[in-house]
């Protein structure tokens, strides 16, 4: 008996608007508790919501990016339920006329190895809508505390169809969501800061069956890897249960990351009747075609399209594009450098290897943002040009990279100051090569016998003798010339 999993994800993403969804109070993570509030946020008697236009535009942008149909008319509904972190005990959300309908997200599965791009497929979306966030409760031994800083922040809810079948696909989907949303700059999607939250619906059925099995909702998946691990565990649990002829209970289960398992929520999960009705304090939203076209015209290139273009136009391998393309600013940096010096491959290598390494090391929490980096595309372009023109060796370029990164000095200046110019002085190099050949009969013999690699030992010696300044290409030529004689 073969089983398959059917998985749908509900992802909430906090929009990085300047103010909250229904009132002009700033929102930012980490402020002192209950400092980002006002009468509207706290649901004081007599207060009223006023819709944040910027949040609506950002939602439309997301919808356009995922090929959703943008509603001509959209409205706000009240979702009524009681919970201490809900100031009004209803959440302003969208029920039957969401801003975006349908759509799809292109995902990339892992390839057979790191160097190989995996399969791409599209995960279908059901809808995307906008709503306000709740406050945050923290539970202690004897009581719970409430922080309303987050209350009222704008959230988009992206609901996928039950269109995924493995933890891997779910992971790829979340990654794709993050990459795309960061590319249009509407959120930093940091799960640790609660900017992106994920609930998963999983059911399991026999392969070939058309009906869905009992659906389990998984919550408390607080990291992207938690999502993958939680799904993997849950699929296994459900399959094991079915193989044991047990019924799957339709319930909500919480992922316990420390113990690596899901457990049913202790309180009895009754189906909520949210008593949705149109919010009488807010007007329906009419979205004009001109607005949609204006927003569409400002859509950036989506990362997978960029990945395809970089392969086609620059012939860059997957190992490079998979690193550069998901990052909009890094991609722009790359293309600016190429515009200055048209050698995409070496430039891409410098960026993907050296630049990223330094950025990662320099950051205080995570990677240093490119905007704070002291070097720009012209530094990279210069380095690539100098290597390409034989002015310096690749080794030297690598060596001075770290210094240039920390000082921001121009590479030409550094090379000049330290006298690092590569020697292409054929006469000088010939002398040194002769010497090395004389001193190393064995590798010479091996080379003449047909072992190509043997030349590397000789080359290495020459590079050592010239303290790395010899032009390796020329050294290679000279050595071969001398040995053939």
């Amino acid at each position: 008996m073969e089983y398959e999993a059917v998985i749908g994800l509900e992802v909430h993403v906090q929009l990085n608007t300047e103010s909250k969804m229904f009132t002009r109070v700033a929102y930012n993570y980490g402020a002192p508790s209950n400092s980002l509030t006002n009468p509207v946020v706290m649901g004081l008697p007599g207060t009223l919501p006023v819709m944040n236009k910027g949040a609506i535009e950002k939602t439309i942008i997301v919808g356009l990016m995922f090929n959703c149909e943008i509603a001509k008319i959209s409205k706000w509904d009240r979702k009524n339920y009681f919970y201490p972190d809900m100031p009004k005990n209803y959440q302003i959300s969208q029920y039957d006329q969401p801003l975006c309908i349908g759509g799809e997200v292109e995902i990339e599965l892992p390839g057979s190895s790191r160097n190989i791009m995996g399969l791409h497929r599209n995960v279908k979306l059901t809808r995307i809508h906008l709503e306000e966030d709740t406050g945050k409760s923290t539970h202690h031994a004897l009581d719970s505390t409430l922080d309303f800083n987050r209350s009222g922040a704008p959230l988009i809810e992206i609901v996928s169809e039950p269109d995924m079948h493995s933890a891997e696909e779910a992971f790829a989907y979340l990654t794709a969501l993050r990459t795309n949303l960061m590319c249009v700059d509407i959120s930093d999607c940091d799960m640790e800061k609660g900017q992106m939250r994920c609930d998963v619906n999983i059911s399991v059925r026999e392969v070939g069956a058309t009906e869905l099995g009992a659906k389990v909702e998984l919550k408390n998946l607080n990291t992207i890897s938690g999502v993958r691990n939680g799904i993997e565990f849950e699929i296994e649990r459900q399959i094991k249960a079915l193989k044991n002829n047990e019924k799957i209970v339709q319930e909500t289960r919480l992922w316990n990351a420390e113990r690596g398992l899901t457990a049913a929520m202790r309180s009895k999960e009754e189906a909520h009747d949210y008593r949705y009705f149109p919010d009488p304090d807010l007007m329906p939203v009419k979205i004009e075609k001109e607005t949609i076209e204006r927003l569409r015209s400002h859509l950036p290139e989506i990362p997978f399209d960029k990945q395809r273009r970089f392969l086609a136009d620059y012939d860059l391998p997957f190992t490079i594009t998979s690193v550069i393309c998901p990052d909009k600013r890094l991609s722009e940096f790359f293309e600016e450098a190429v515009a200055l010096y048209n050698k995409p491959k070496p430039i891409a290598n410098l960026i993907a290897n050296d630049l990223l390494r330094e950025l990662s090391a320099a950051g205080t929490e995570g990677t240093l943002p490119l905007s704070e980096c002291k070097i720009g595309p012209k530094h990279i372009a210069s380095l690539a040009r100098m290597v390409d023109e034989g002015l310096i060796s690749k080794q030297v370029a690598q060596d001075i990279f770290i210094d240039i990164f920390s000082t921001g000095d121009e590479p030409e200046k550094v090379v000049e100051e330290r006298g690092l110019k590569q020697s292409s002085n054929t006469a000088e190099l010939e002398d040194i090569c002769r010497e090395i050949i004389d001193d190393n009969p064995k590798p010479v013999q091996e080379f003449k016998a047909g072992k190509e690699n043997a030349i590397n030992a000789l080359k290495g010696q020459v590079m050592k003798a010239t303290r790395g300044k010899a032009n390796p290409k020329i050294v290679d030529e000279i050595l071969r010339k001398l040995m053939i004689k």
Binding site: L44, P45, G46, L48, P87, R275, F277
Partner: protein, 487 residues
Amino acid sequence: MSDLFYKTAVELSSLLIKGEVSSCDLTQAVIDRTRAVEPKVKAFLSYDEEDALKQAKNSDEHIARGESRGLLEGIPVGIKDIIAVNGERLSCASKILEKFNSPYDATAAINLKNAGAVLWGRLNMDEFAMGSSTENSAYQVTSNPWDLERIPGGSSGGSAASVAAGEAILAIGSDTGGSIRQPASLCGVVGLKPTYGLISRYGLVAYASSLDQIGPFARTVEDVAIFLQAIASHDRLDSTSIKTEIPDYRSALEQADRPWKLGVPSEYFSDGLDNEVRVAIENAIKFFAINGCEIVDVSLPHTDLAIPVYYIIATAEASSNLARYDGIRYSHRSDKAVDSIDLYFKSRAEGFGEEVKRRIILGTYVLSSGYYDAYYLKAQKVRTLIRQDFMKSFEKVDALLTPTSPTVAFKIGKCSEDPLAMYLSDIYTISVNLAGLPGISVPCGFNSDKMPIGLQIIGKPYCEADILAIAHKFERSHKFYSEHPKL
């Protein structure tokens, strides 16, 4: 020469500017009157004499500098305890907000302050504006100044009574199904509910969001006109606030002698209308007929659906609006709760009165899964039909004349055992809220017990100027404002 506290705001404004009286004197007169008659009327939940006099002094200083901010400068205005004033209680006559002070001003309150008015006291009302007699207040019952054993009407009973008794020159109230017009009628004063959206609801504690409006009480139509001028404005903080040109309401009174076409809806003159009230209204209609107006018979066929439609929509919205009173942040928190769910149950059970609980339960029911379509959705559709009735009649007439209330004020306690009977007393006012139209009640006589009777004039959307002019025309010839209750 009437007492200072019975003069009109227009008269007083003139006296203040001329320096013949000071706002401090006027305010003191109002304070003294209040202290004298409050034991009988009980219109106020609280008042702060010192604070009122401080405001009055400030007004006097403005006037002395030649910087009067308008006709309301220095005039004491009573505030229904449902409108937020920074630093003041905001109990909505409920125990659940007994200890709550508002940290912000309603837009209407800001407008009043900017006009230089003296905000005076917190007026009694039916709890959360749910009621038609002010008997649902959790604190006290207000008496009708014309007969202390009768109700003043509701839910703005304190506002109407205070103006009738001279305890305030003007008062502000709110109207969801008639809560300004009906008490105005029962207390012999003028009360106006504006077109939905004309006055900002920001700072008005919500009962039924799509029906609530703030509105003015005064003893004359002209006073209502200048009061309305000060508080009608578009407000960015209220998404249901309309952007429209606000006319000069006081100048509009000069239109009184236009040849108005006035409609009389047949459905408003059936059984249930007290005979003496009927006679007074018919006399009023005759007055217009013989004074240059054309009386047209009209029909509003969906009238008898108004009450069920109202009680479905209003209670549904209320059940959601009142969910925030949960004992967690600022409302009454029970100390008997054993866990968080119990905290909700006990706090709300202890804090809310019977009628509020009744309406929350009803509202929750009509929104619940399986019933939404049959009740809430259906009611909203019928609401459109009710509005269409009015708009059709407005193709033929400029305004409608109706009784405000089917009876005069009844005895305290008479209706409180029968909520349904109480609901039916709103029959003439409720449709006006459902249709979002402006309506004014102006005194048009007394019955044989010397209880006031009110005439309601219903206007087209944003035509407050018309109904004010028509009301002014009537008032000018009848002068019921010169009669005062014997207290």
